[in-house]
Symmetry: C2
Subunit: 452 residues, 2 copies
Amino acid sequence: MTAAPTDRLKLAVLINASGSHIAGWRHPRSGAEQTDELSHYLQIAKKAEAGKFDIVFFADSSALFDGTPEHQARYSHGLAATEPKRHLEPFTLLAALSAGTSNIGLVGSATTTYAEPYSVARVVASLDRLSGGRGGWNLITSANPAEASNFNRTHHLDHATRYERAEEFVDVVRGLWDTLGDGAYVRNREQGVYSDLTQISALNFQGKHFQVSGPLNILRPPQGHPLIAQAGSSEPGRRLAARTADMVFTAQRDIQAAKEFRADIRARTRAAGRNPDHVLVVPGLVPYVGETHQDAHDFYHELLSLIVPDAGLALLAELVGEIDLRSYPLDGPVPEFGETQGSVSRLRLIEQLTHTTRPTIRILYESIAGASGHGFIIGSPVEIADYIEEWYRQGAVDGFNILPPVSPFAFDRFVDLVVPELQRRGLVQSAYRPGSLRDKLGLPRPKNSLLS
Amino acid sequence: MTAAPTDRLKLAVLINASGSHIAGWRHPRSGAEQTDELSHYLQIAKKAEAGKFDIVFFADSSALFDGTPEHQARYSHGLAATEPKRHLEPFTLLAALSAGTSNIGLVGSATTTYAEPYSVARVVASLDRLSGGRGGWNLITSANPAEASNFNRTHHLDHATRYERAEEFVDVVRGLWDTLGDGAYVRNREQGVYSDLTQISALNFQGKHFQVSGPLNILRPPQGHPLIAQAGSSEPGRRLAARTADMVFTAQRDIQAAKEFRADIRARTRAAGRNPDHVLVVPGLVPYVGETHQDAHDFYHELLSLIVPDAGLALLAELVGEIDLRSYPLDGPVPEFGETQGSVSRLRLIEQLTHTTRPTIRILYESIAGASGHGFIIGSPVEIADYIEEWYRQGAVDGFNILPPVSPFAFDRFVDLVVPELQRRGLVQSAYRPGSLRDKLGLPRPKNSLLS
Ligand SMILES: Cc1cc2nc3c(=O)[nH]c(=O)nc-3n(C[C@H](O)[C@H](O)[C@H](O)COP(=O)(O)O)c2cc1C
Ligand SMILES: Cc1cc2nc3c(=O)[nH]c(=O)nc-3n(C[C@H](O)[C@H](O)[C@H](O)COP(=O)(O)O)c2cc1C
């Protein structure tokens, strides 16, 4: 089941405010003061383009902090020490970035739980058009329960309902993208014919959650369908990805588990009647790059020393549910905890971690503070390239979604030091291919399901 | 009640695809082939900035064509001849335009009927931030009944309910903009304090239509509140505008009616406890500019000759409700028609027109084809400047929202020929003031209602 590596390793960068490390913002070379400004993100996107990255990617949530309102109240001191990871809205930001870049893919997250498919289809199609075929949508089901209370609900939709809704949502979105054929607007000035009505179709979707007639009021996107990414790792998450995703983001800390995950996604994709090479599995990776091994470890420990304990506890609070860790000693062992409605897969990660090593609370938050459950690697450029090459050659990944612990500093280091090493080894591209994001990634342009 | 003119006339441009005239796209110098591309809109926005315009403005709807699906089916041939007026989604487009402009205000329409206030608050705040304080929201209640079926509804919400929802919606949006104080993010690296929690507040809005806890996950916008524009002219529309709007778009064909409208808005604004100078009344104006009087009339008649009759009938279908005009002779009189749930104020405009002149169907659509109910003026630069000056001096307007009948051609003419004449007369600005859009317009930055 483990496939031979695809033609080259893909690289995305997830721009997480001034860094994915919880104390990243405190680092002297973070851009913490600039995270409300376009310039911060443009600098990173341009750097990514200089490094021939495939994609800049924005995660999202529709609430200021993660967790339920009760958590937030309990951990308010921790929240004061933590940078909220969202500053600008993803699609307006990506649209602005499209004007300052020319090759990199622009992928934003939008929730199927609290948004409307007509609006998402339209915004993503508009981004695809504005960027000349570089747009994409990361389909999220809303990991953050605090979003519910911003959208007229007292409770977050449960996991099963979120995925049921997501299944319909993506069908509506893809259907709407097909309601206008590529040649719908003929614009024949002489004859006074603007539209070819045979190239415009209603959708008339009648589902349990959505009833949407269409057509969409924007021409079919340049890519046919903008790239669809997904990040669910649960059973229904994998099922949805296998049926509909072009790219799967995932958190994988262990190469063997990653191989199994990728093999599973590929098998499911084949079972869904699709070519498994058309689903790219791209785990997150937090690289602590140093000029030398020692330099990298110094950087990592510098960041650990910057963690405010309350912020560390608040970080754990998102993940351990109802337990108030402040009543336990910081340097004592992590207590047991049960299941939640939230992120099943993340919980499992922590459980694995606590069962294998029995860490203290401080060590647990330190290990999570740097990578939010993703794999991380501390090392020299060669060490990091070795790690990446190993995962790739073993068929554990099609690429990585790089989460710089400190932005822009740690990303600059990755592009300046690691990317040339990867290019030297022929693992990543040294120049962009022409065409749309799909063309560059070797993914086909979807056929129109409604019109021929 | 009629006030002295404010310090200068304001100018906005409504970018309506390749022209607000129904046959504008057929004109040899329209940009019809470019309306899916950023470049088309950027060219117009830059021209507007060259002419020291205050605002570029995008109308919106969330359906491909106007009217109910039944209308659309009946008038399909007419639709084939008509340019759909939306090509790109307003806020992604405005965000992209923000990167290519530096002074002009960027105002997009978003509906209170089919959107969520948390999302609208966030997108508009993001635009305001990306543009350095030039963002604005035109609050619309969805004039187009076809939107309903794209948002899980079998019927459009009725007029009264739309405005009831709009009243709550705008309160939620403005409240959310106030949930983070201007100084919420202190970013004290040394002490590890990112946020000042006393500058972050919940909203906890509990209304009939919306329950939204907040806070918003974006810093308070540079303008405090981005500009709020509105375009309802009915009783509830005026009430809402008087309470909440900074700018009122309106369709006015008659100077006396416009004076009364502006006086009414100002009186209501004062009654709502606000300074009437802080609500700018800006009717639409479709200018047919020629180098000479004759040249302008030739241009106007050239456009009339380009109207496909079916497109003219489809245009009337939006406005006359259930009557199928195709069963009446094109050069016979317009039949009687009743009220609809739709745009009450537009219907009244047509009734006035039909009662005073008893036009034929062809003449009715010709008179509407060029201006969609707005005032229009055909003339030389001096004639058009005279018209504008007259309306302004008489206190009928604070400015005009220019709807070029053909874009970019007719807008270029307006900027090149009419604006210098207006500047020479000291009616409009010849240079931008520094600061935000509110600063440039002389509008105050709203105080924070939740935090001091
Ligand atoms: C790499 C990665 C990125 C994610 N990005 C987001 C995000 O931007 N917003 C969000 O609400 N959830 C995000 N999630 C959470 C998933 O969308 C999903 O809700 C969560 O993993 C629970 O679903 P599951 O049980 O299928 O894994 C992300 C998850 C992963 C692994
Ligand atoms: C100048 C002007 C611009 C408008 N722009 C929009 C728009 O972009 N989208 C929309 O749905 N309605 C638009 N409308 C319609 C109004 O939002 C409103 O729905 C309509 O005027 C009916 O409300 P009323 O009865 O209060 O006038 C516009 C109206 C006017 C006069």
